[in-house]
């Protein structure tokens, strides 16, 4: 039965993911590597639970990449994109051209025909959107400058897929056709056969239509569907829209990923953005996982066993070439110290588009069976190695860099007893640090953004560049002698991690923390850390105070009202914390956190009437009594 087979496969894939990903995460390897290992284990070379259909699964799962780009598009407003144009076209363009050129040269040296060498160069110049973006979001690097630059490059590469797809058939006709047993040529879209200018016209037309629909029609359709109140219909519509866009783009020879990305950007400022994001997110996660598993399962170990050294050499050579090009470009484009390595390691693997491009080239008789098999293996292995490269960067390269950049300061720290460690010196930490410094308290300030470090040092602040999540960094900062650790950094997940480590290893150090939202506060309370401030509660309350004054409250009245509200907030927080403890297992998705917070806070508030603390200043009961006595 076909159905049974489907469910059996689903069981194997899902089971593998559920078992291996948590283990990989516990070991600090990240989910991508976990999925890849799961794929290898269930694949034809270890447990043989899945066989040839792994390729099909991969094609299906490639849709996860499409969904991912849609979600990324949703988070990027057009304005932001315009700001990034220099890094997209400059950095991204140069990366593709230079890398492709060098790889072509190497391929020529290996006696490939010129046209094949060019094809190989173009195909291998691309990096894996799926792996890199998954890693970026998992490590909270999307806002980091290296992460941003990496994203720009990926964006350019996604666009580059279109002309490459168009070029490959032309390149194929320039040389002698490869000897292929399978000669069926599957066109990937009828448009691809049309002349270049017409193709361009159709592409521009399609994008215009997409933008117009997204801008003007989508909103009404979403509202109509949302009004039905049936969530599953909304889910269906969201998927329908993404799949429709992907198929439409595919038909005209555009990369579906790029098409849905544009759709996402168009919808980025619509009011349904969050709803769309939450709806698509689980599908994206699952399909991407599936994609990585199928990559793992598809590794052809036979080829590897036949010629292990050649393959390994090729993989290392590929990574080396890409890494060096990226590193140099990172320098040229002035990435901050230390970040160019992260940037280069992030993008040093080959792309999942390579799978598509390689099979397309094979169809166009550009590569023979042997070449395409080998290329596929090299691509897959480079992808599998890439999470390891990042671990290598984290554990080996960046500590060395950090030490090298801060050699003197480190020595300083070791000699000194510092009562307070302040982690994160951005907008938030700056205020905390200034208060302490103004009162003559010595502070060891850690920050991972070197631009801040340098500016502030100029003004006499004592700052150190480093990543506090690294245990050695904490030790060097003098955690053993510290009295306080103030977590003022914006990377909330990292801050929690640090808090947990310090709680365990250095229980004498008091921890004070900045929290993102109320759930983050709860997580700290759970670690027994109760000096926690929500990063914007007090400033927002002060602005509310100003509003009351503008509305005619006397200043002291407004002050008392605001202060009473703050007091009341503490009680509400306590109540919500108790609720939260009761159903702690509940997962709250990032995008839903705020909605949840609003709901729960207002709910809890219903049970409290704000206690009128100032009744003694104007007592009706006293007046009544006085009147009676008269």
């Amino acid at each position: 039965m076909h159905n049974q087979e489907f469910f059996l496969n689903a069981l194997i894939y899902l089971g593998a993911a559920v078992v291996s990903v948590p283990i990989a995460k516990k070991l600090g390897l990240g989910s991508v590597l976990g999925y890849l290992l799961a794929g290898i284990i269930i694949g034809p070379f270890v447990l043989r639970l899945v066989g040839n259909e792994a390729g099909e699964v991969m094609h299906f799962a490639e849709f996860g990449v499409v969904l991912m780009l849609f979600i990324i598009g949703l988070e990027l407003e057009p304005k932001l994109l315009w700001k990034m144009r220099r890094s997209i076209f400059g950095l991204g363009g140069l990366q593709v051209i230079i890398t492709a050129g060098i790889i072509t040269g190497v391929a020529l040296l290996l006696n490939f025909q010129l046209n094949r060498a060019v094809a190989i160069g173009l195909i291998l110049a691309l990096s894996s959107t799926a792996i890199v973006l998954q890693t970026l979001s998992e490590k909270g690097l999307m806002r980091n400058i290296a992460g941003r630059s990496a994203f720009s490059v990926l964006l350019f590469q996604d666009m580059a897929v279109i002309p490459i797809l168009a070029l490959l058939p032309i390149i194929a006709t320039l040389g002698t056709p490869a000897d292929l047993s399978d000669t069926s040529i599957n066109s990937i879209g009828q448009v691809a056969q049309l002349p270049g200018w017409l193709q361009l016209l159709i592409i521009i037309g399609a994008i215009t239509v997409l933008v117009i629909i997204g801008r003007f029609a989508a909103r009404h359709i979403f509202r109509l569907v949302a009004e039905t109140g049936l969530h599953e219909v909304f889910v269906a519509l969201a998927l329908l829209m993404v799949i429709g866009t992907a198929l439409g783009m595919d038909a005209i020879g555009l990369s579906p990923a790029l098409g849905t990305f544009i759709a996402g950007v168009v919808l980025a400022d619509s009011e349904y953005r969050h709803e769309l994001e939450t709806t698509i997110d689980p599908f994206k996660g699952l399909l991407l996982g599936l994609f990585f598993i199928s990559v793992g399962a598809g590794i052809n170990f036979n080829l590897l066993i036949e010629d292990p050294w050649v393959i390994i050499l090729f993989v290392l050579l590929l990574i080396f070439i890409k890494f060096v090009v990226l590193l140099i470009l990172g320098r040229i484009f002035r990435l901050k110290k230390g970040f160019e390595f992260l940037f280069a390691f992030l993008l040093a693997q080959a792309s999942e588009f390579a799978f598509v491009l390689i099979s397309f080239s094979k169809q166009n008789k550009l590569f023979d069976e042997q070449t395409s098999g080998m290329l596929l293996l090299v691509v897959t292995l480079s992808m599998a190695i890439s999470p390891l490269l990042l671990i290598f960067n984290d554990k080996a390269v960046s500590p060395i860099l950090a030490r090298w950049q801060n050699k003197l300061e480190y020595d300083d720290i070791e000699d000194e007893e510092t009562p307070v460690i302040l982690a994160g010196f951005g907008r938030f930490g700056l205020t905390v640090g200034r208060i302490l410094l103004a009162n003559g308290i010595k502070v060891t300030i850690l920050d991972n953004n070197p631009s801040n470090v340098e500016t502030l040092r100029k003004y006499g602040f004592k700052l150190y560049f480093g990543d506090i999540t690294r245990p050695t960094m904490l030790e060097k900062a003098g955690i053993e002698n510290a009295r306080l650790l103030i977590l003022s950094m914006a990377e909330h997940e990292n801050a929690l991690k640090v808090a947990e480590i310090v709680r365990k290893k250095y229980p004498h150090v008091k921890i004070l923390a900045r929290a993102k939202d109320i759930f983050h506060v709860f997580e700290y309370l759970n670690l027994n850390i109760n000096k926690v401030q929500r990063e914007n509660f007090h400033s927002a309350a002060e602005l509310g105070n100003d509003a009351l004054i503008e509305l005619g409250f006397s200043k002291y009245e407004a002050y008392r009202a605001t202060r009473t509200f703050k007091h009341h907030e503490d009680q509400v927080t306590e109540e919500l914390y108790r609720h939260w403890l009761e159903d702690q297992g509940k997962f709250i998705q990032e995008t839903r956190r705020f909605a949840e917070q609003v709901k729960e806070t207002l709910q809890a508030e219903k049970n409290y009437s704000i206690h009128e603390t100032d009744c003694a200043w104007d007592v009706d009961s006293l007046k009544d009594e006085a009147k009676k006595e008269k």
Binding site: R563, H567, H611, W617, V619, S621, L622
Partner: protein, 198 residues
């Protein structure tokens, strides 16, 4: 055993010597609760329900503070304004404090002679304390004579230590109900209840 609530107020605790020593001499006593107002309400935002509950849980209420401008530091006044509500502390139905005892414990730079009709300050300590005494009376409380530390600027550590010992004895006696009311009516200061051989 009576329960004693110390309403302690010193805006510059780190500079305080006398009040700090006195407070530290009694804070570990059973049945004594030290309510450090500036520490608890640095922005004067007094939690009225909490304070009222504390009052109902104790039998003797003591305002302990330096004597600023012939009165108490500002937070004590704020505390009185907000906590001693009509309908709670006074008024026809305000009987929460009825029958409890009230006392002041103060430190002042002036010697005792200065606080007299002939002296520079023209009035006695008990005259200056009239607002406290009458407030307690309005709340249907019994007044105790004040515990006073005079000449605070010229005391050395040994002198302060003696005052602290006396204060501890007074508080212990009050707690254990070892003071007879006849004796009370003859005393100007609570200090007199401790007999010193000298």
């Amino acid at each position: 055993m009576k329960k004693i609530l110390i309403l302690f107020a010193h805006p510059a605790f780190h500079k305080s010597l006398i009040n700090k020593t006195l407070m530290e001499a009694i804070k570990d006593l059973d049945g004594v609760t030290v309510n450090n107002l500036y520490e608890k309400y640095p922005d004067f935002f007094i939690d009225v329900p909490v304070e009222q509950k504390l009052l109902t849980q104790h039998d003797i209420i003591i305002w302990q503070h330096p004597f600023y401008w012939y009165s108490a530091p500002a937070i004590i006044k704020e505390w009185m304004d907000l906590v001693l509500q009509h309908g709670f502390a006074y008024g026809t139905h305000g009987r929460a404090l009825e029958g409890k005892w009230a006392m002041s414990c103060i430190s002042t730079g002036g010697r005792k002679e200065v606080y007299s009709a002939e002296g520079k300050n023209r009035y006695t300590i008990n005259q200056f304390l009239a607002p406290f005494i009458q407030s307690a009376s309005l709340c249907r409380m019994e007044n105790l004579p004040p515990f006073v530390v005079h000449g605070s600027h010229t005391l050395n550590r040994d002198d302060i230590k003696k005052f602290a010992d006396d204060y501890r004895k007074v508080i212990t006696m009050l707690r254990d109900n070892e003071i007879d009311s006849e004796q009370l009516s003859t005393m100007e200061y609570m200090n007199e209840i401790i007999k010193h051989d000298a």
